[in-house]
């Protein structure tokens, strides 16, 4: 008969050595009836508040289950130990290989981005100059066209032709010729490249206080700052019931452990 995963786990759980305390805990529960099913059905109704008689059941149950938990963790840890050791070795190989690849990627990315930035800067300067030159040329061309039309107007007698020339003159004065902007091809063009560049934007907080002040003023939304929960928890642990910080509320949760030396 094929054993299911759940059954296999149950069989292993049955092999866990039981201490007197654990035995007590097992006594306090009844078997669910499923063959080989280790997990017991609780005799304690957790939906109901405790009373005098169920109080001791609960304390014994916690003590027993604490031990059961420790045994289960130990058993699985032992099963995992050789796997973890192998995993550790494989992870080391992976880390070493990936790190060397990442190193190359990082260095080439830096160089590529550096080159692109330099090209962008140069092209910006080139474009500014090209636009200036083209603008001067267009302006010159416009003046020449205007002058030519004005010259023609001085000797043209025919009214129809004059009207046409005058209309052309208005148009020539109003509308400068298009700019003939000459730009070199972009040496860092990604058009034919097998990769594409994407800018990722992020931020580094340089002055926490300044940022917090801006949040207080309301110019920056509160989402911009996050409370330092580990520090706040440490303060609460240190100051206990005397803990008092603006905007914070002390939370107390009680946990139960088995008493030392009791088995």
């Amino acid at each position: 008969m094929k054993t299911t995963k759940q059954e296999a786990v149950i069989v292993r759980m049955q092999n866990i050595p039981t201490s007197p305390s654990l035995k007590k805990a097992r006594v306090l529960v009844e078997e669910s009836g499923m063959p080989g099913h280790w997990f017991p059905k609780l005799k304690l109704d957790l939906e109901q508040p405790l009373n005098k008689s169920t109080f001791s059941v609960a304390t014994e149950l916690i003590a027993g289950y604490r031990e059961l938990r420790a045994s289960a963790v130990k058993m699985y840890d032992e099963m995992l130990k050789p796997l973890n050791e192998k995993r550790k070795v494989i992870l080391k190989w992976k880390r070493e290989n990936v790190e060397s690849i990442d190193d190359v990627l990082e260095r080439v990315t830096f160089r590529l981005s550096e080159f692109e930035k330099q090209v962008e800067h140069e092209r910006e300067e080139q474009a500014t100059k090209a636009l200036e030159t083209a603008s001067e040329q267009a302006s010159q061309e416009q003046s020449e066209i205007v002058r030519d039309i004005e010259d023609a107007l001085t000797f043209v007698q025919d009214d129809t032709v004059r009207e046409k020339l005058e209309a052309d003159l208005v148009e020539a004065k109003k509308s400068p010729p298009p700019l003939a902007v000459v730009m070199e091809a972009n040496p860092a063009s990604m058009n034919d490249a097998p990769i594409t560049g994407t800018d990722r934007f992020s931020c580094k907080v340089m002055d926490h206080v300044l940022l917090a002040e801006a949040v207080v003023k309301g110019t920056v939304p509160p989402d911009a700052i996050q409370a330092n929960q580990p520090w706040l928890n440490a303060q609460a642990r240190k100051e206990k019931t005397f803990f008092s910080l603006p905007g914070c509320e002390l939370t107390i949760t009680r946990d139960y452990k088995r008493k030392g030396g009791r088995s």
Binding site: R123, E124, A127, T128, L131, A134, E171, S175, P178, V181
Partner: protein, 208 residues
């Protein structure tokens, strides 16, 4: 006199130049285009009425089917006009617009004014031109979809058209109004975009 039929629209020019992809005619994209047009109309009303005191947008409350101002009674007329037949799916875009106007203070001087350039055979209708508090003359174009690389060329072409009528903008801004009510904007000020816009125009003139 200009002959409008001979003028090519900036967006059509970008499509013809292969910079902007031809939009396939699907019901979904038609709906998106209609929504974009409606958001543009609505933003025009808002920008016209909230222009002189952009901070009054802070008092604008959008609730369900209603859109009205809490602080400026004189603006109620414009808002009431919006109320009639108001499409509630547009409310997030108005929130996004509100956010943009607060984050990017600007006094608009020119709204949806078409430019016909006979010399270049081009026509375009930049959404807004305005002045930032530091005096920077800025072109703003509202978008309701995603950010695409061709948007910067569209703005550069508009800047060229504006330049030729004597309006020299130094910054070009794409304001993206999102359907979740958020907004973001991209500022373009590269001379390369303008130079490339001229290359596109010259190719267009050669092919005419």
């Amino acid at each position: 006199m200009s002959n409008e039929r001979e003028l090519t629209r900036v967006t059509y020019l970008l499509r013809r130049a292969g910079i902007c992809k031809e939009i396939p005619d699907t019901p979904q994209l038609r709906h998106a285009a209609t929504r974009g047009t409606r958001v543009h109309s609505l933003s025009e009303i808002f920008d016209r009425h909230f222009d002189s005191r952009s901070l009054s947008l802070m008092g604008l409350e959008l609730r369900g089917r209603e859109a009205y101002s809490l602080t400026n009674d004189e603006n109620a007329g414009a808002i009431n006009r919006i109320d009639r037949g108001f499409d509630t799916t547009l409310i997030p875009y108005l929130r996004a617009l509100q956010q943009f106007r607060v984050e990017f203070p600007i006094r608009y001087t020119r709204t949806e004014e078409r430019i016909d350039d006979v010399g270049l055979g081009l026509s375009g209708c930049p959404d807004r031109v305005g002045v930032q508090p530091d005096g920077t003359l800025t072109l703003v174009d509202y978008k309701t979809g995603n950010e695409y690389p061709w948007h910067k060329y569209q703005l550069a072409l508009y800047a060229v058209l504006l330049d030729r009528i004597g309006i020299k903008v130094t910054q070009r801004v794409d304001a993206y109004l999102q359907k979740d009510g958020s907004s973001f904007f991209t500022v373009h000020d590269s001379a390369v975009d303008i130079a490339e816009a001229w290359t596109i125009i010259n190719e267009h003139l050669l092919n005419k």
